[in-house]
């Protein structure tokens, strides 16, 4: 495969969760997500209610993929942020390399505040993600990887 499998360890996951939790409070947001640009949800913090977070992540990624292609058509490389303003709830998406920081907020916050706080958190998230990517690349070379031990029976049992 072209890209390395991304492996997130407990400690890295906790660091991401901490950044998201702080951002959620600082923005007075309803919920904050970190999503991979291919649509995989990485982590979230906040009030999700009965929201389908997996579908939400996939649609956020699809949304950014479409707007990025639109950007290219008009000569821009990427739109670094995408905003959707609703009557009550709004969404702010910040593109960080191959990930998306998605903030869902309502009238308790403002777009200006969300932009400001997200910018700061983006740097932290970017450095954690870089570490994850580097570790993942090294781990791939590790012949003793846990996944090398998966047997045919393990896989078959999923479909029984």
């Amino acid at each position: 495969m072209v890209e390395t499998t991304i492996i997130i360890h407990e400690q890295q996951f906790q660091r991401i969760k901490n950044v998201l939790a702080r951002l959620c409070v600082e923005c007075a947001a309803r919920v904050v997500f970190l999503v991979d640009r291919d649509g995989q949800p990485i982590a979230f913090h906040g009030d999700i209610g009965d929201m389908d977070t997996t579908s939400f992540s996939s649609l956020a990624a699809g949304n950014v993929a479409a707007t990025t292609s639109m950007a290219k058509l008009i000569g821009e490389d990427v739109f670094p942020a995408v905003v959707h303003e609703g009557e009550r709830e709004s969404i702010f998406i910040s593109v960080i390399g191959r990930s998306l920081l998605v903030v869902v907020f309502d009238e308790r916050s403002t777009l200006g505040l969300v932009k400001l706080r997200t910018k700061k958190a983006s740097h932290e998230v970017a450095s954690i993600l870089e570490a994850i990517q580097n570790d993942s690349a090294n781990e791939r070379l590790d012949a003793n990887s846990f996944f090398a031990e998966i047997t045919d029976e393990d896989i078959d049992s999923l479909f029984s």
């Binding site: 495969m1 499998t5 991304i6 991979d36 699809g62 993929a65 846990f146 393990d154 999923l158």
Partner: protein, 194 residues
């Protein structure tokens, strides 16, 4: 690109259903959705036109169970089959772990199958993938219709690398889960290789 989260003990993989317009990609997903227990699936999201043609993609997350304590979740996507939605197809292939090519078995759709398969190879290459190297399954759909090309002829024409081939009638669920299992198995086997 597979995502492994040790904290939540989850493996997330992306599978894309590809093929010409009206070959039954969405029907495959719809059948999987309808026959899966509520706790194992998320919502089936369809970004479709008013006439129910896929505009951007269909999506559903599916949990298959656990491997060595890790929850395995497959993110199933379809692409829009119509020729002019090529930009959307390219986007959806990003980060793909496995592909199902759904061929329409009807005689008059043979050219469309070949064109779509060629388009798949080309779009995979654009994203840096090689069809010959990624987990891949061929499904011969609509076997219940009267004007179908014999399976061996279709296979001879469309099979690219000795990949598993399944006859299917997706509208009745025939071959749908066999296809999914085959591609999911290849994806997990690939993961094991590292």
């Amino acid at each position: 690109m597979t995502f492994i989260n040790y904290a939540s003990r989850e493996i997330n993989c992306k599978i894309v259903y590809y093929g010409p317009g009206l070959c039954g990609k969405t029907t495959n997903l719809q059948y999987i959705y309808d026959s899966t227990a509520p706790q194992a699936k998320g919502k089936l999201i369809s970004l479709a036109t008013e006439t129910d043609r896929t505009l951007f993609f269909d999506f559903m997350p599916l949990e298959l169970g656990t491997v060595r304590g890790f929850k395995t979740r497959f993110h199933l996507y379809t692409v829009p089959g119509q020729v002019y939605y090529d930009a959307s197809r390219k986007l959806i292939l990003k980060g793909v772990d496995g592909v199902v090519f759904v061929a329409d078995s009807q005689e008059e759709r043979m050219d469309a199958n070949i064109e779509s398969l060629y388009n798949l190879e080309e779009n995979l290459q654009t994203q840096g993938y090689d069809l010959l190297k990624i987990p891949y399954v061929l499904q011969l759909n609509k076997r219940d219709l009267p004007n179908v090309i014999p399976s061996d002829e279709l296979t001879a024409e469309l099979q690219r690398k000795g990949e598993p081939v399944f006859e299917a009638t997706a509208s009745q669920g025939v071959g749908v889960f066999d296809t999914l299992k085959a591609v999911a198995k290849q994806v997990l086997t690939e993961l094991r290789k590292g």
